[in-house]
């Protein structure tokens, strides 16, 4: 495990589920982790935009709809091992259940922050792995 990864574990950004993803990657599915993570990014950004739009409603806030989007985000974050993002979703959901507008705003800000951090770190992680693979390729040329 490289230093960045163990750092992310230590910080609670990622949990063992991420390791499970890595274990599922092999020669038959060599890009599995990045494929899943990219789908996750795409889905999450859509959901985060929805949540922000719902919170911007001046009049009646649809807490129920927020809860639905949150459940989706929570589920997929947990499925890829994004522990901190998942935890913020939990707190956010509590706020929606209490119809707590201020609480929801705070939670959304935290969620957006955690998500950005996660995305940056995962990109970094993939870059490191890519460079490592390239370096390995130079030393051990591919026999084709």
């Amino acid at each position: 495990m490289n230093r960045l990864l163990s750092f992310l574990f230590h910080q609670g950004v990622l949990d063992e589920q991420f390791l499970q993803l890595q274990q599922l990657q092999d020669e038959t599915s060599p890009n599995f982790v990045s494929e899943v993570v990219n789908i996750y990014f795409h889905e999450s950004e859509k959901l985060l935009r929805n949540l922000r739009a719902l919170l911007m409603e001046r009049e009646l806030m649809d807490y129920k709809k927020m809860g639905i989007d949150l459940n989706q985000l929570m589920g997929s974050s947990s499925s890829i091992g994004a522990k901190r993002v998942t935890n913020v979703c939990v707190a956010f959901r509590v706020a929606t259940e209490q119809n707590n507008r201020v609480g929801c705003f705070r939670a959304l800000e935290m969620l957006e922050h955690e998500y950005c951090y996660l995305k940056n770190k995962l990109h970094e992680l993939f870059q490191i792995e890519q460079q490592r693979d390239l370096a390995a390729g130079v030393r051990y040329p591919v026999q084709n």
Partner: protein, 238 residues
Amino acid sequence: MGLAAESQFHVLAVDDSIIDRKLIERLLKTSSYQVTTVDSGSKALEFLGLCENDETNPNTPSVFPNNHQEVEVNLVITDYCMPGMTGYDLLKKIKESSSLKNIPVVIMSSENVPSRINRCLEEGAEEFFLKPVRLSDLSRLKPHMKKTKLKHQKQETEQKFENSEIIQNDQKQTPKSQIQHSETESQSQTQLQAHSTIDQQQQSLQQGNNNKRKNMEQGLSSDTDRTRPRYSGIATVV
């Protein structure tokens, strides 16, 4: 590709989340299962050959006339929380269907709600997995699939047995007709067929095992190739 020594188990995975679908598909493939994924309960039922009930009888699902479960599904694994038809609804529909009720169903959920778990198990779910599902969880699936595959094979051999009776009776009684002229052949055959249906029950006990083995060796069974789809209840006689 050739005949597999042991045919693969086929799992139908149902989840509205694209990420979870991708995950479960990978988990199942890694465990050497054949996988089909769908994103809703209604699509799952469609795949299984069961159409949604219409207005006439809301309680009895009807089977698609063209699809007698041509693709064999050995297990259904479904998410609990789905829009429209929940995993629980899907479980109920499967267990209420005479053609599908023997398929083992496993429920997955991200929430650990004991009442929900109990409800599902009571309705006939074999297992309840908490998400995220791990590779180690999947090892619990095989015993359920093996159990029903055995049952299915038993049903099939019984069906083949029945069909082979009709063939064997004809064959036994037609040696003479084969020597006869072709014009009269069809005549005698229809007569013999009438005979065989009447005598079938008496003779079946005696001829039993010989017929079965003989027909399987002769390749009359449509199911010697296990990789071909199975026809439940409708064995094709070549």
